[in-house]
Structures are given as structure tokens and as C-alpha cells.
């Protein structure tokens, strides 16, 4: 199997697993009213799911340049990490 195929499969698996972990964290947030779990849920979506969507779905669909897609991904990373970092101040 070519390396590119393995990478694409691993990326898809990362996005699916990220969505699952985010859902579990969101459930934890709803059940325990825990801001850490809520932020973790947002953070994981931004870090693991959004980049996949930008790279494989939104990017090709609206014809983003490499730089625009890269900016969207790094912005998603920054927002997700900022959401997690904010909870440390509670």
C-alpha cells in the first residue's frame, strides 16, 4: 500500500476518533458541568477534525490556495488551544 494512502487513511481515522473523543468530552461537560471538558471538546474538534475538513472537503470545494488552507488550519489550532488554555484560569 502506498505511503500516501496510509497517510490519508490515518488522517481520516484521526478525524473520526477526534470527533468521537470530542463527543465524549462534550457529554462529560453536560453531565458534570465541567468547563475543562467543554473546552477539551472544542479544542479537539479544532485540532483534529477541522484541519481534515479544510484539507479534504472545504479546501477542494471552494478552491482554496495552499496558503489559505494552511492559514485556516493554523487558525483552527490556535482557537482550539486558546479555548483549552482559557480553562486553566478558572
Amino acid at each position: 500500500m502506498p505511503l500516501e494512502t496510509i497517510t490519508a487513511l490515518a488522517s481520516g481515522l484521526t478525524a473520526v476518533l477526534g470527533l468521537f473523543v470530542a463527543l465524549l468530552a462534550y457529554r462529560g461537560f453536560r453531565r458534570n458541568d465541567s468547563p475543562t471538558m467543554g473546552a477539551l471538546s472544542i479544542g479537539i474538534v479544532c485540532i483534529a477534525v477541522v484541519p481534515y475538513l479544510v484539507l479534504y472537503l472545504v479546501g477542494p470545494a471552494i478552491d482554496l490556495t495552499d496558503a489559505e488552507a494552511l492559514l485556516a488550519i493554523t487558525l483552527a489550532h490556535t482557537l482550539g488551544l486558546a479555548a483549552i488554555y482559557r480553562t486553566f484560569h478558572y
Binding site: L3, I47, L71, H77
Partner: protein, 148 residues
Amino acid sequence: MIGTPTPLTGPPAALARATGSVPEAVGSITSTRTLEAIARLGSIPVAPLQIEVEGGSTPVVLAAIATFFVALVLSVLVTYRFVEGYRRTKARPILLLAVGMFLLAPAPMFIRLLVGNVAAIPLSVQLLTTTLSELSGLVVILYVVYSR
């Protein structure tokens, strides 16, 4: 690095091209800025520094590089706060969250930063390494969240 199919080689690769002093054959979208002012600095004659950006417009590339470094700093801070939390509470789930967060965010970014600028390492290997790091980070976080 030049001539590779570009899909998102990461900011380090873009940065490598942006700081390259030798004009290189670039893709379809290329903008060149000559910083003659730098060349005029000092008394030693210096060849004009040329910055070439490929894959998009210069402001977007620079913004992407800047946000990449902001995200890198934030990821290190978040991981550090988890480690600090573990050292304070000695709670194993927090240590695992620190490990998971490290594998999910800072580790892939450092890999992109280091490996992306080494031409000897193929792009596919870099992408696979970062993806596997993120995947293992998510598995660790899944374990923590699932066991709560």
C-alpha cells in the same frame, strides 16, 4: 522540496522557501519582494535578499506562518499547564492528558518545524509521522475521557 506536490507542507516548508536567498523555480502563484534596504545596511556590499513565496499571496503566507508560531507557543503552554497540574495533584489522568496533548499538538508542530526543513526526508514520511503522533495523542486522551 521544490517540485513536490505542495498540498500543505506546513509553515516550516513555506518559511524555508520564503527565506531562501537563491531564486528558485516556483509554482504558478509567485510573488517576489526584494529587500534592497537590507542590502544597503553596513559598509560591506551584500547581495539583495530576495523573499519568494509560493502557494498563495505574501500576506496570507506570512499570516499562516505567524499563526503557526502562535499555535506552537499555545500548545507548549497548554501541555506545560497539564504537567504543572500533575505535579501539584499527582493525579494520573492529568499526566495522561499532558502526554495526550503533547502528542496531539506540540509534537506534530515540532516535527513539521524540524522535518519540514530537511529536504532529505520525503513529504509523505513527514505527513505520516505527524498524523500518527496526532492519532496516538487522541488514543491517550480517549482513554482519559472514557475512564472518567
